[in-house]
Amino acid sequence: MRENVMKPCEYACQTEEHQISRRLFLGAAAGLAGFTAPSVAKELSSGQKRMLVIFLSGGVSQLETWDPKPNTDTGGPFRAIPTSVPGIHISELLPQAAKRMHLLTLVRGINTAEDEHGRGATIMLTGRRTEAGIKYPEVGAVASNLLVTPNRDLPGHVQITPGGGSGFNKEDAGFLGPKFASITLADGKPPADLLRPASISSDSDREREALRQKLNAQFAQSRRSAQTDAYTESFEQAAKVAARAGAFDAGREDPKAADRYGRHDFGRHMLLARRLLEQGVTYVKVTHTNYDTHHENFDFHIEQLSEFDRPFSMLLDDLADRGLLQSTLVVVMSEFGRTPRINDRYGRDHWSKAWSVAMAGCGLKAGAVIGKTNANGTAVTEREVHGGHLFHTYFKALGLNPTKNFYPDGRPIPIADPKAAAISEILT
């Protein structure tokens, strides 16, 4: 029986979404082990683009990271240090990152005008402000929707969180639907159902799978639709993902790499992120917490950033060494920055008017700074941008056209906010 998958008038035209709606997590990229040889990685890099977001949750201080203002009323106690790019200085709390400035691109003129955590995160992750009646997909859902190659066994949208529960999310893909929503690996652990439980032996698994296929084949002789096909295929796809569950196990990485990244949670999570990207996951987000330093901003930033600096730098090195950086977009973001004014508890509060994001890879102009803030960092003075500009820039860098539309319910919705455009100066 033919199904009318297309609606009878033009609003549900043959959009890209419809074309790929059934491909799910189908795919190839063979082999269980991670790529250790740079040459192999190079082959992979030629085709597929991918994205890594490091989300510094709570709101990292731009003054203690990418846009220091030493010796001003707002600058705080830390120095600015020279980097591998002459003329560019960043905070002394990031000595390793400073040595890799030639790989980085800094955007210093961000004004997102939103000081609340949830809404700030929405702006940074969806490139849009919160709107009633529509739920925009997060960048990871968009990336996994648009970048997925038809040959893959692994899910496209993965996030690694410091805690909470592992599982499958529904919401962060917004109108793109749950297929593109993320899988959360809480503390790096995969969702329980991903692995075959010990109570089901491999013999039993094989037996029941064979029987299931036989029953479906019988049923399909007289009753069949695109939906029944999608359902029966989903079991074969799940089996493939389960068979590649090793991709989620950072414990299989070289112990020396674990030492380099640091034997702590964030180090382990970043190593897992490298593993997932190398295995062909399109988008990985790693969350590092907690930067919401209303009290003791400086002590906390010493602590958090010393944990952040090394694994971040190691991952940059590894991606660069393996030839993957040219096809991997790396973004270090927060929901907002922190107030230049230091409060009476030595804290800094929420501040979205003038803050910074660091990016790398995917052909972005390396060793560059775009945008500028005034002497004590209270306002953007040059090339002001917001979440919409960044969103455009990510997808341009990934080789896509962010002015194209999605068609949820047949309604055209531009991939990125049409009122903004990419920061062309940092694109090559």
Partner: protein, 542 residues
């Protein structure tokens, strides 16, 4: 009333009367079959009538949300009464499971699985369930939902539609139009719909004008908030496509019908209770009060078209207008005459949902097989020549799993004399949550088109919830089947319980052979049962 409106109204009423008189002799299910048959390109490409087992499983799922038990299936198949199908339909519609099924279906339709904030789940479900149990006319139900301000604790549940949307004007407007008028006018919020000529910006704001004076009192955060209304305020809108940026307004208006003429009140007499700090105002004239009547008015053809189209889709797997919420002139119904007939008859029968569903269930069109006849592959779904395979809803799938693995029977036995739909449901619902969470739509979003996601598949494949349901316990399927002597009897028990049919000869032989060779029969029974539960035959209502 202006004369053009009066004329239109008279014409509408006359046509209703005339067409119903013509068809007076013909029961609705015959009318359905007549029109559906007229739409066949070739009658030979239509499926043959469904066999008893196919009918039994289908109609039980559609009308009560569960699958028949092995005992019910045996009895129905053995029954030789020629009227047994009609009797079974009547039995289902009269059962408390019917009200539960309608409650669950309409809850998802009306609330999109959003979080319960201001009206409790229990009160809302009770409200819906009693409405369907007493067969409250559908228009009356909708009027109650659209004209409740939440102030009376006894009837507050009906206000959930408004309250748990925080009375957010865009969302409420969109959903009223989408759910009750079959017009998804969301794209007409910022400009006339770019692709659908019938959906103008005025239609969006015409509905919003009923709501624009209302707000939540004391505030939207208060879980006890009620709806308050001011005596003034107009909607205004500008098309984003309009270079001149002309500001427009509209009175309350349901598209295709007359606008509401607001009562203008003397200055100083606008309020029964005047607005003041911490006081809920009561206007002398309420726009919101007009909404329920305007939406459900007999003259508003869109309302009845959408109502019958939704119920048709519930039973038949696809709307006559498809998708259900895009009713407009460029997306005509697959069977225009049938949609008109259904809509008119529904209103003539005072929006009687039980009667309407019964008529559909009685039709040959509903009772056709889902097996594609030779040469039938190319026939479009919208001909209804072969019964459409419907994926089970999260609730249906959950109940079906619980029933098939035997847990329902275990509980029924446990409850003994205290077994009622309510007491049994209380036990079963504890197992339903994971199915709703994993298979349900995202909270606050309409059900997505069917898709099989990785988490759903892994839930069935590896999840402990399904494993637990399958584990042998006294009275469960595996235990019951394991006690039988003959492997062929075991095969029969599995097929009757899970697929609600007898195995055919090949199936019986295949399963029996597997069981004969097994070292561990219980383990194998469990594997076979899993394979059946994970198969397409179980996942779809066919």
């Amino acid at each position: 009333m202006g004369s053009p409106w009066r004329l239109l109204l008279t014409m509408a009423l006359a046509s209703t009367f005339f067409s119903s008189k013509l068809q007076a002799e013909e029961p609705l299910h015959k009318g359905i079959d007549r029109i559906i048959a007229e739409g066949f390109e070739s009658p030979t490409k239509a499926a043959s009538p469904a066999k008893d087992a196919e009918f039994l499983r289908r109609v039980t799922l559609d009308l009560t949300g569960r699958i028949p038990s092995a005992t019910e299936t045996r009895a129905f198949l053995a029954n030789r009464t020629p009227t047994k199908r009609a009797e079974w339909i009547d039995k289902l519609i009269a059962s408390p499971e019917y009200s539960r099924r309608m409650q669950e279906y309409f809850d998802v339709v009306l609330m999109d699985r959003r979080a319960d904030t201001k009206v409790s789940r229990a009160a809302w479900e009770e409200f819906l369930r009693t409405a369907f149990a007493s067969n409250k006319p559908y228009d009356e139900l909708v009027r109650e939902i659209l004209s409740n301000d939440g102030a009376n604790p006894k009837t507050r549940a009906a206000a959930k539609f408004f309250l748990d949307r925080d009375l957010e004007p865009t969302i409420v407007t969109r959903d009223i139009s989408r759910l009750f008028l079959g017009r998804n006018v969301q794209c007409a919020q910022c400009h006339d719909h770019p692709l659908v000529d019938d959906y103008a910006q005025e239609h969006f704001y015409g509905i919003q004008a009923f709501l624009n004076r209302s707000y939540l009192f004391p505030n939207a955060q208060d879980v006890k908030a009620v709806i308050a209304e001011k005596a003034e305020g107009e909607v205004s809108f500008i098309s984003v496509f309009d270079p001149k940026k002309v500001q427009k307004s509209t009175p309350p208006l349901v598209s295709g019908w007359k606008p509401i003429v607001d009562v203008t009140l003397e200055k100083g007499k606008e309020y029964k209770v005047a607005p003041a700090k911490d006081v809920k105002p009561i206007p002398a004239y309420s726009r919101l009060e007009k909404l329920g009547a305007a939406i459900t008015a007999q003259e508003n053809v869109a309302f009845r078209r959408t109502a019958v189209n939704r119920l048709w889709a519930l039973m038949m797997g696809r709307g006559l207008v498809h998708p259900i919420d895009f009713d407009h002139s460029k997306n005509p119904p697959s069977h225009p005459e049938l949609l008109t007939l259904l809509a008119d008859e529904f209103v003539k029968h005072r929006c009687d949902v039980k009667w309407f569903l019964r008529e559909i269930a009685l039709s040959e069109s509903y009772q056709r097989s889902s097996e594609i006849p030779p040469g039938g592959q190319d026939v479009s779904q919208d001909r209804f020549a072969v019964t459409i395979l419907k994926p089970l809803s999260p609730e249906q799938f959950g109940y079906a799993m619980i029933q098939a693995t035997g847990l329902t029977d275990v509980y029924r036995k446990e409850l003994g004399n205290n077994a009622s739909e309510t007491s049994l449901h209380a036990k079963l619902s504890a197992h339903l949550g994971p199915f709703q969470r994993i298979y349900g739509s995202r909270p606050g979003e309409p059900e997505d088109a069917f898709s099989s996601t990785l988490d759903q598949t892994l839930f069935v494949k590896h999840g402990d919830h399904v494993q637990n349901l399958l584990s042998p316990r006294v009275g469960s399927l595996i235990e019951r089947a394991g006690k039988l002597k003959e492997p062929t009897d075991m095969a029969e028990e599995l097929y009757l319980t899970i697929y609600s049919r007898f195995p055919n000869e090949v199936e019986r032989r295949d399963i029996a052979e597997l069981l004969r060779m097994a070292k561990n029969r219980t383990a194998l029974l469990s594997d076979i049962a899993w394979a059946m539960l994970a198969s397409a035959e179980f996942r779809f209502n066919h």
